[in-house]
């Protein structure tokens, strides 16, 4: 009886060694198979591939006021996007002008966008009734001076399509 137990124990000892070594060999096969396949490298060669790098269409890079070829944007100063923004990253500065029909209306002076506090949640873009906003695909935002992160989105000399002159 004791002899049988000893034989079983010795058998288990050698079986453990065999089992351990084969499990290690299986793991080594996986890493070895990647070593001999240079085509399995997935690194992208950034920044050398900037010319061909294209992000997805919906990528939320940076907020942009859409200007068409006549330098006209579509903002009508309704303030919806500024109210929807959860942390106040959009400030709309407007001025009141006399319209052609005698009533005062609001005209966009500066559309201030604080890139440093924007959390890219995307609540502003679908809230605009005039479809004036969109997200750009630019992701390289790093600057040395924090003042550069406060951007004015309406281009100089632009006027609004929504306001009829």
């Amino acid at each position: 009886m004791a002899l049988l137990k000893t034989i079983k124990a010795i058998g288990k000892y050698f079986y453990d060694i065999y089992d351990g070594v084969t499990s290690l060999a299986r793991g080594m096969k996986v890493t070895g198979s990647y070593f001999v396949r240079p085509s399995s490298v997935v690194t992208q060669k950034y920044p050398e591939n900037r010319a061909t790098l294209k992000m997805f269409d919906n990528f939320k890079g940076e907020l942009q006021l859409i200007h068409d070829e006549n330098n006209k944007h579509s903002c009508n100063v309704c303030n919806t996007c500024a109210r929807r923004c959860p942390n106040g990253s959009i400030e709309i500065i407007y001025k009141k002008v006399e319209g052609a029909d005698g009533r005062t209306k609001k005209v966009l002076d500066k559309y201030v966008y604080h890139l440093e506090t924007c959390s890219f949640c995307g609540l502003c873009v679908p809230s605009c009734d005039e479809f004036a906003l969109r997200f750009d695909q630019d992701f390289e935002h790093a600057v040395f001076d924090r003042g550069k992160l406060t951007k004015v989105l309406n281009k100089p000399g632009s006027s609004s399509k929504a306001m009829k002159e």
Binding site: I17, L24, G32, Y34, V41, T43
Partner: protein, 358 residues
Amino acid sequence: MYDFTPFIESITSYLNENLSPFWAGLISMVLLGVGILLFYAVLGLYLVYAERKICARMQNRMGPNRVGPGGIFQTIADLIKLLLKELIYIRNADSLLFNIAPFIVIVASIMAIGAIPFAKGLQAVDLNIGVLYILAISSMGVIGILIAGWASNSKYSVIGAMRSGAQVISYELSVGLALLGIITFAGSMQFSEIIASQEDGWWIFKGHIPAMIAFVIFLIAGTAETNRGPFDLAEAESELTAGFHTEYSGIKFAFFFLAEYMNMFIIAAVATTLFLGGWLPFHLFQWQGFNNVMDFIPPVFWFFGKAAFVIYLMMWFKWTFPRLRIDQLLALEWKYLLPINLMNLILIAFLTLMKWHF
């Protein structure tokens, strides 16, 4: 064909003729020392680079590829950075021991390079107890690790150093016994005689199964000796920050780092010399044509090629397996490696007696 003995003889005879024996001896030792140090530094740099490239390839990425063509100057940039770092002195640490520890580790591994044969005649000193010398010298490295851990006056370092000390002392047994098998086959501890006994075939083929078992055990125990691979809990980054060399910065850290890579090279060189035929080319049976083509490649290339293969195996282990815990590591040695080693040794002794090897 490629024999360095006449070249070395000519240098020594030139020195001996023109100068007194004292100066001749001194100059030849200085030349030898400078040569070995240069070799050590350059090889260490390129082993680090090779490891980074190999591990990157296994992980589906490119390794260093910006500094120099293909990134070959990356380690030199790292070395310059380490040289320029501030050496932080700890207030309550034992400053003599703290400063001496990296030197002990480096000196132990440089001394071991002196006994390894790189080609016929290209050996610093051909001791008749070559293998024993290398084992004894590499055991001195553990003194450096223990002193480093103790002198740092930090709880993390002491834990790391104690673990490492226990590990190295245990695995030295297995290393010695595995090598003892080949010494039994070859009949001598002198490196040049062991290589001469492999001229008709490498011991890993001539000794069939016991020699292969001894090779595998030597690889595992050798990896554990140098605190590498799955046995690197002394410097486990994710558990105790950096273990025994936590408090070292700058060039002192670079010494520990370099010594680890060169110890890996020493283990690979000893494995190559004893199991894989050293600088002998690969001869296949008695095919004259094939053998002549193999002879044409210089022995230095054969030696470094075989050592590179063994180093690649050790790197493959490190990047595939998780780490062992200290009690599992010691259990592996005392319960598995040592009994199998002893059984293997008895088998080898028996085979040598009955001449049942090739």
